[in-house]
Symmetry: C2
Subunit: 399 residues, 2 copies
DNA sequence: CCGTCTATGTCCAACTAGTGAACTCTAAGC
DNA sequence: GCTTAGAGTTCACTAGTTGGACATAGACGG
């Protein structure tokens, strides 16, 4: 710890290695740990004993088929992580364990006009309720991931201009939640978390680079590069919604003209249908009607798809991700929107980049963001956090 | 080495730690090494002895002011790296040492019609000549970086369709050079290397994320994200030249219409001036004339700048780099082109992303790519390469 | 000119932690 | 029931770092 290049640090690294191997695989026998980590069986034996004594790990005496394998897994109460997602209309919370399993998940409506304080309070209550439901001790919370629907200044942690939750501008969500829950909280915006969620649990499994396009009230993208969220130095990467498609197009809320958003986001698209389909139409409704065959809605959705495709083509030329996942309400439209997107990409992206790109609908729907928050908590939590917690908890027992 | 979590690996890590510390600082006393690496004085003493015996490091018996400090530095012949850049018309080679110093650099014209074999032979000769000029032993070459003006398939290492060097398509530059020089060769395209070069020695110093836009016969971008070249899963990231600016614009060589390249690249821009300024105009010539006040050339350059600015705005929205460096012949135009670029960026990028973006001309001119190749060799060469080389060279002396 | 002081580098004994080999144990297969 | 093979443990051994003692040599003050 304080001796950064010495045996103790080596030992620590080996502990983490084992914990990580177990966490990723869910459960392993000691021999398997030895093979995957490259450590010798003897070392693994010692480390497992230490972790077991520390309470980090559980050893189920007899389990799988073989001769006498004892399977090692992270002990259920070794730690849990929490994901919180403030959406436009909903508050969602998920509790998971370190083995990437979701233990509990719940959502409740959130009033748009609610003050930020009310929102944080509600979140705290819901988190507490879910923790209790899982029956795990509160002190075992290893980290919290928090999703907010707007730009976050990474350095100060303040929520920037967000037209979606007006009363929340200037608040510091991470600090607020940390104050309430007493644990480190990692924040990010909904698009980035959606990307992470789909990456870990959804349509992005097995891929290292992915762009998650979320079309809802606005259009945003979350970029995952080499397994990590890419935010850019200023934290505003992924603003695909404000790519210019037509220099003399409609004026966008950002002040420019012809942004992708003006062709694809709900706030600009829905008015097109209001004269023919009524004024209380939602994106969800449009999608439903389109699936039922309504030609106007189909046309609008296809047009949206084509425009998104243009934006994705640019993204593809610049970043060349291996997968693009479409999220938000629009994803429910399936091939009605994906087809035009693919067509546009094929037309506007350079062939070599377009060829190996797959465009898929999100597999998690509205859960992508909470689960992403969970994933954020898991990934930001070094495996050492876990060790620290349990070791400090365990030392008193020895002295 | 084969035991990835054991003492020997720890020792190795500590060796690398010391080598890196010395490499970065240029020269340190043992006590300083101990402080910066966090290792104990005793360990440093042992490691330095080992490195000295291995020939990796030189100890100058008495040097600096103090009591009796012995300053440790990488031995001059501990290793050198080589950068090779195949340009459109030139072949450039640079030789540097591990302290990021350029020891020798030379360029010679390369005939466009030359076969790839001729090109590689010429490169080999030039490399040999420069190595001799520095007086360092050939066996001390720790790595070679190679720049080629076209897309490289990272997996197979073959050069893709490149309209610039027609006879070279399908060759494997890395293998060719490795065969000739007998050292590992790392290849990348010129835009990526230009980015790396400007990052390490030029206008990108001190920044971790940078986009290098190279405007020449075509338009390409090299992206550096978090200090490393970002190539994308398929290796074709950074194709800013084929971003669509106008869906009904001129047909581009890539098959699409209205690509940035059709508004900015030499092959499309020069014809505009040929009726008024003659047919044998080059981009360099246009820039010279513009600087001398020729209004037509000024206008053309400003227009090019505006279009590049549109592309950069998209790049900026998506990736939010902290710096954009303009390279290629066009960069010589200075404010004549940078002004319009900045103006376009300000107009089309979202304000928060544009505000913190700086657009600078490259500081290295045509040398950016060779130096980038050098930087590539340096960065790809783990400090362990150095150890391996010298250790295998040193072991016979002990047995 | 000399003694003291201080920081440097080295040596040694102590200690930490990983490894190979030998050993025990259990269930499967014949 | 006997053999077998893989799992996990124990033990002696070894590699490698560390703290502290020690030697060294310039700087400083008298």
């Amino acid at each position: 710890m304080e001796t950064p290049g010495s045996q103790s640090s080596l030992h620590r690294a080996n502990l983490e290695r084992v914990v990580r191997a177990v966490r990723l695989a869910g459960s392993l026998t000691q021999a398997e740990i030895a093979r995957t980590t490259g450590l010798s069986a003897a070392t693994v034996s010692n480390i497992v004993r230490e972790l077991k004594d520390g309470g980090t790990v559980e050893v189920t005496p007899t389990s799988a088929g073989g001769r006498r394998a004892r399977s090692v897994s992270l002990s259920g109460d070794a730690g849990i992580v929490i994901g919180v997602d403030f959406g436009h209309t909903h508050l969602r919370v998920a509790v998971g364990n370190l083995a990437h399993q979701v233990l509990a998940e719940e959502s409740e409506p959130l009033d748009v006009d609610a003050s930020s304080t009310q929102g944080f309070d509600r979140a705290e209550q819901l988190v507490s309720r879910l923790i209790e439901a899982t029956g795990v001790d509160r002190t075992k919370v290893a980290g919290v991931g928090l999703g907010v629907p707007g730009p976050i200044d990474l350095e100060s942690g303040t929520l920037g201009s967000s037209a979606i939750l007006p009363g929340w501008i200037g608040t510091r969500p991470a600090e607020e939640m940390k104050g309430r829950l007493g644990v480190t909280v990692h924040v990010d915006n909904d698009a980035n978390l959606g990307a992470l969620g789909e990456m870990v649990w959804g349509s992005g499994r097995g891929v290292r680079d992915l762009a998650y396009i979320k079309v809802a009230s606005g259009v945003g993208a979350g970029l995952v590069i080499d397994g990590k969220i890419y935010r850019g130095p200023g934290g505003t990467a992924g603003e695909i919604g404000h790519i210019t498609l037509d220099e003399s197009g409609p004026v966008c809320r950002c002040g420019n003209r012809g942004c992708l958003e003006t062709f694809a986001a709900a706030r600009y698209v829905l008015p097109l249908l209001q004269s023919s389909h009524g004024t209380d139409l939602t994106m969800e409704g449009v999608v439903r009607l389109a699936r039922d065959g309504d030609p106007g809605c189909r046309r609008v959705i296809a047009d949206v798809g084509r425009h998104i495709g243009s934006g994705v083509a640019n993204l593809c030329n610049l970043l060349n991700p291996s997968r693009v996942v479409l999220g938000g309400d629009l994803a429910e439209a399936g091939e009605l929107v994906l087809g035009p997107i693919r067509e546009s990409v094929g037309r506007y992206a350079i062939p070599s980049a377009a060829r190996q790109l797959s465009v898929l609908p999100g597999a998690l729907g509205g859960r992508a963001e909470v689960l992403g928050a969970l994933a954020l908590a898991l990934s930001e939590m070094g495996d050492s956090t876990l060790l620290d917690g349990t070791l400090t908890a365990a030392t008193p027992a020895f002295t």
